[in-house]
């Protein structure tokens, strides 16, 4: 891997955001961030990350809406999205996949598992 993988982290919780940025950086992944769905869509256009880690419960525009909109936008619809959420029910997983997410991870995040998911989607 000559070039670092770049990930867009969409997370409104300050602690969780800070923690994930640092852990992803340590794993050799570049991180850009957004605090809500609206900003996430803007960042996907600006930064064209290779993967998006999207929290679902977000202010302004939630993760489901943002994912759906991303899938309707031709310039960014190829960017894979991993849903990150504390909603752990099976129905929530289906909701996320239905909204256009490619994968799904529940909080608390199993970090090695998350890295595998990212790698799978960037290969």
């Amino acid at each position: 891997m000559t070039e670092k993988t770049r990930v867009l982290l969409v997370e409104d919780n300050e602690l969780n955001r800070d923690m994930l940025i640092r852990r992803l950086n340590r794993a050799g992944i570049d991180v850009v961030t957004a605090e809500n769905g609206q900003k996430a869509l803007e960042m996907m256009h600006q930064e064209t990350p290779e993967v998006v880690l999207m929290d679902m419960n977000l202010p302004v525009m939630d993760g489901w809406t943002a994912s759906r909109k991303a899938r309707e936008d031709d310039t960014i619809k190829h960017i894979p999205i991993i849903a990150l959420t504390a909603h752990a029910m099976e129905a929530d997983r289906l909701n996320a996949l239905e909204a256009g997410c490619d994968d799904y991870a529940t909080k608390p995040v199993d970090f090695p598992g998350l890295l595998i998911k990212i790698e799978k989607l960037t290969r």
Partner: protein, 509 residues
């Protein structure tokens, strides 16, 4: 009309017709017997008349012969012959009076004439016999006039009686014909009426029964709003239909009640599931930070010689903060669960609400300073004491004031308290801030569990989203209520109204 009355009426009508027939029959019989009597009278009268005529004729012949004999001979009549003659004349007189007894009312005139003429004739004849042996007596019996007169009167009486007999016979014939006709008409009328009554009875009863049957079928097949209408029957079937409709109403209401209870149970069940999902979600958020930071620190310790101590401490503080948030969340969930299962009870004691409020404000002074807020706290010493649950009272205002501190930056927070004018024994408390405020939609559900202005709120401001739900439940337990008024961007005012004694409030309600 009721079935019973219909049957009774039918029976009565048939009986009346039957009575008419029977009456007509007796009338006919009576008319026939009358005709027999009249006929017998006529025959008797004819016989008697003939007999009297014959007797008169015989007597006259005998008297004429005797008169000739007397003129020509001197023969005397002996007493047996005289007695015989008198006997004969009495017999004629008796027969005439017998004639008078036959139909006396319509032959009176003729009879009186006959009686006068006959009497004169017979008197003459009697005088003839009695004085027959007296040679000095002049017997004048050859004159035919009295005899002819009497014969004429006898004939008149006879004719009269014959006329009367014919007239009566005609009347009687007509009567018999009439009674026969009445009997036949009555008979057919009975048959017709019975058939009609039967027909209508069956028809009306049948249509009512059909409606009842249809109603039962429709209701039975689940059409709970179906009612039997147009029952023009105020009798047993109408009553039955009305009873059916009443039963239908009650059944429908019962079914609706059951349905509503089921819906409520389903709703409660769904609410529980949502609550559980929310609990799971809310527990995972701080856990994510705790586990994430712990794992990260673990990794950092593994692969670095020098630990960035200040950074390490900040991270540990974050873990502790998240852990505390988790603990308070669990405590709140337990409290809420206790309230909702009815296991939370009030422990009432006498306390001074002003004092408690002042203590709460003092204890929250560090939180107040965090965001540079100023607190306006008036003097509460005038407030009368309450008899209520002081712990819950304190908790309500800790929650409200921490919220006010959390959602306000460099602003003012004011607490007000007083008694409600016009409502003896009620207090009104309010906590006002100049913070971020809420939209109308947010205000509408701010007291629901796990609801904060939006999901980033807990991230940016902390809190579990259960505090206001607990405040609302506590207020209600203590017999009062809580409300909010807010403008987005300008601030919020939470108002709590509580009775001095929850028992009195519950008793009054």
């Amino acid at each position: 009309m009721s079935l019973r009355r219909r049957l009774i009426l039918s029976l009565f009508t048939i009986l009346v017709l039957f009575a008419i027939n029977v009456g007509t029959h007796f009338w006919g019989s009576y008319a026939r017997s009358e005709s027999m009597v009249a006929y017998r009278d006529a025959v008797t009268a004819a016989q008697l008349s003939a007999q009297v005529e014959q007797q008169l004729d015989d007597q006259r012949q005998q008297i004429l012969v005797l008169a000739t004999l007397r003129d020509t001979t001197d023969d005397q009549l002996d007493s047996p012959e005289l007695a015989q003659a008198e006997q004969d004349i009495r017999s004629i007189r008796g027969n005439i009076s017998e004639l008078g007894e036959l139909s006396p009312e319509v032959t009176e005139l003729q009879y009186q004439r006959l009686w006068a003429a006959g009497g004169e004739l017979l008197d003459g004849w009697l005088a003839f016999y009695r004085n027959y042996n007296d040679p000095a007596f002049d017997l004048d019996v050859e004159d035919p006039l009295p005899y002819l007169e009497a014969s004429q009167r006898l004939k008149e009486l006879e004719q009269r009686q014959a006329f009367i007999a014919v007239q009566r016979a005609n009347i009687i014939d007509r009567t018999i014909a009439l009674t026969d006709r009445i009997t036949v008409i009555g008979f057919f009328a009975s048959i017709f009426l019975t058939a009609m009554l039967g027909f209508f009875l069956v028809r009306y009863t049948n249509s009512s029964l059909k409606r009842l049957k249809r109603g039962t079928e429709r209701f039975g097949s689940g059409d709970l709003n179906y009612r039997i209408d147009n029952i023009n029957d105020d009798g047993e079937l109408g009553d039955l239909a009305a009873a059916f409709n009443t039963m239908s109403d009650k059944l429908r209401n019962a079914i609706y009640d059951v349905q509503r209870s089921k819906d409520e149970a389903d709703e409660a069940n769904a609410a529980k599931s949502i609550f559980l999902a929310n609990v799971s979600h809310e527990l995972r958020t701080p856990l994510n930070a705790i586990i994430g930071y712990s794992e990260m620190l673990h990794d950092e310790l593994d692969d670095r010689d020098e630990v960035d101590r200040p950074q390490f401490q900040r991270d540990l503080a974050r873990i502790v903060q998240s852990g505390r948030q988790l603990l308070s969340l669990i405590n709140d969930i337990l409290d809420l669960s206790k309230i909702e299962t009815g296991k939370m009870s009030l422990h009432c004691e006498s306390f001074n609400p002003g004092e408690v409020l002042t203590q709460v404000c003092d204890s929250l002074a560090p939180l107040l300073k965090q965001r540079n807020n100023a607190l306006q706290l008036p003097d509460f010493s005038e407030l009368p004491p309450m008899y209520s649950d002081a712990t819950k009272f304190r908790q309500i205002f800790v929650n409200l004031l921490s919220n006010a501190c959390k959602f306000t930056d460099k602003g003012y927070i004011s607490v007000a308290a007083g008694t409600v004018s016009g409502k003896d024994g009620w207090y009104e408390f309010s906590v006002r801030d100049t913070g971020i405020g809420m939209t109308d939609d947010q205000q509408a559900k701010v007291f629901d569990a796990f609801v904060q202005a939006d999901s980033s709120t807990s991230a940016n401001y902390g809190g579990t989203g259960l505090g206001l739900a607990i405040c609302r439940d506590y207020c209600e337990m203590m017999g009062g209520k809580i409300s909010v008024q807010s403008t987005e961007g300008e601030g919020s005012t939470f108002t709590v109204i509580l009775p001095a004694d929850p028992e009195l409030a519950h008793a009054a309600a």
